[in-house]
């Protein structure tokens, strides 16, 4: 006997409607709580903070991960250490703007694994780079005066000393 899969309607900020399976939507804790409260309903859930293209990506992620086990407390402590798997890595190969939009949306929708993944991607973009390279990657302006730069460098060195 085929279990009827429930569908859920979501509306992006531009008003575009998306239909997804309920279990996919529930990867978002925000949506899960809303759906639990609302129960059976034909209404679309408006997501004014999420644009269509970003919502598409988010749905793509949630669909791929729909059967993942639920997040537990212990995962909190594994954030730094686990490698990103291939599918996730490909998923994150997007322009910077999109990447940051994904972070904001994952945060808003409360999808912790996606948030961790995207944050880790940004961290990977920073790691190993010199301050100058980091600045160029993210368009950061160096506003230290030469004296201040000296101070910071001195402090860094002092910290690194035993």
């Amino acid at each position: 006997m085929v279990t009827e899969v429930k569908r859920v309607k979501l509306t992006s900020s531009e008003g575009t409607e998306f239909q997804v399976d309920r279990n996919v939507a529930e990867r978002s804790v925000l949506l899960k709580n809303m759906l639990d409260d609302v129960g059976e309903s034909d209404c679309a859930i408006p997501l004014p903070n999420v644009t269509g293209p970003i919502l598409t990506k988010v749905i793509e992620y949630c669909t791929h991960h729909k059967d993942d086990p639920p997040v537990s407390h212990e995962d909190e402590f594994k954030k730094g250490s686990e490698d990103i798997d291939d599918w996730d890595a490909e998923f994150c190969k997007v322009d910077q703007g999109t990447l940051f939009e994904l972070i904001l949306s994952a945060n808003y929708l409360d999808i912790k694994p996606l948030l961790d993944l995207t944050c880790k991607t940004v961290a990977n973009m920073i790691k190993g780079k010199s301050p100058d390279e980091i600045r160029r990657t993210f368009n950061i302006e160096n506003d230290f005066s030469p004296a201040e730069e000296e101070q910071v460098k001195f402090e860094n060195d002092w910290c690194e000393e035993r």
């Binding site: 954030k79 730094g80 972070i103 790691k127 993210f138 950061i140 302006e141 035993r162």
Partner: protein, 553 residues
Amino acid sequence: MISHHKSHKRKSIDSSLNDNFFKKHKPSNRHPLGIKPWGNYYLDKINNNNDDDINNNINSSRESGLGIISCLTDELILEILEILGLLSTKYLLSIAFTSKIFYCFSTFDELWKKIFIIEKCYNNGGNGNWKWKGNWRLTYLKNNNNHIINDDKNDNNIIISEDINNDNDNIISDDDNNNNNIVINIVNNFYSDILYQPILYQSIRMDNQFISKENIDKCSNLSLDEFNNKYAKPNLPVIITDLVTKWPAYNKWSMKSLEKKYGNIKFRAEAINIKLKEYLKYLQKNLDENPLYLFDKKFGEKCQGILDDFWVPNYFAEDFFNVLDNRPDYRWIIIGPSRSGSTFHKDPNSTSAWNAVIEGSKKWIMFPPDICPPGVFTSPDEAEVTAPFSLMEWYLNYYKETQKLKIKPLEGICRAGEIIFVPNGWWHMVINLEDSIAITQNFVGSHNLLNVLQFLRDKPNQISGFSSESWPNREEIYNSFLEKFQQNYPEVLKELGDKLDDKLDDKLDDKLVENKLNNNNNNKPLIWDKVKCDENETQNSFKFGFFVNEEEQ
């Protein structure tokens, strides 16, 4: 004959208490780096006479300082930095160099605290060989020769052997202005509530209004019968004032004396291990909003002679979990600075507890089992509890509300030399008003035996404190305990007889009732069938903030 010292509402608490609460903090509103809270932004805007040029400057300094990352919230930026730091703190030092605002983020002490603790958690709390260096950032950096790099494909963490012979205290000079040893006054026009928060909390006083109410009974000369009739059986708290003063510990123990005797022994502070003498340094000099709390369950075994300095008061002599070979955790030494404490919780497994203050003082606020405190949210079966992590946050936001309730909480201050009885099932929250040393034990006596049995049987997923090696299947605990208990105290269950049936009625099968009736006259252990329990999805181990798994001590 009991004498009651029922405290009248005091108009003003010892001013010394309030002073002690803040003796380590020199409250000032200035963040050493010049960071301001967002509230100031609006004031500054007005003060600039709505000069658009200046205001645009303010807006753009965050943008230029963070680049494209400025589209994220401060919290998200800290998330990223935390992940970055867990890969290697070297990267945090690099990004600190990029701009002043990133410098502010990268030197945020709570960030380094989190990274430090998480890394220790990877190693079951660490080997405890680290030294406190005044703040978390320095502590991290000074305790690692290089930086631990965690993203090697080979998965070999390059862990530095910590130099235990290096005993000269490299504590940074006590320069008030240069407290964190960071470059000061570095930013103008940078507003961040989250980075400013530590300054904000430092200056919050533990107001008189929060501590002046004391309506928990205070007694001395209490007979065992009186205690049982007035407090144990009705399940009400009481503070007993003439007991702890008789313990050798009361006169012998102090921060100094404990350090002298046990300073090199490693203790457990929440999720990490630390030498007592280093913890005491931390206690003296830290600016944490939620200070690390030393809570050690193995102090009896680790510290020679310490158990001779106190005894379990006769009121609390019953200790039925004693029948178990692998009994759950039951006694702790608690040491913590002022401001530290525990948010609202119920003690595990429906046990009752006593908490004796040897030095210092604790403010207690308690709610009866059926009343959920304001600001605390639980799932229907209380498996999940959400409460503000910060104690002062709770006081600021919710205390006033409690005074307007129909059923008000019981409150009191337990001072040095006093001991409080915490009846099973009661919600309680504790904050140290001064740096404190205390001992606490949890126990099962006649007064709460039935509750404990019911808890073990019906909420096995919420059972905590039992080692998972010795007890891989929590559902067996109930049967094992009942069996052992029958062997050791057959009269007790018999005496409770009817009450037992009534109590356990909700979940009892008919078959079991029959069994009980048939077995009534012999002393054979009654093995209750496993009764199906409610479905609990989550496991809630007894934890505050950063407790990971106390079993892994």
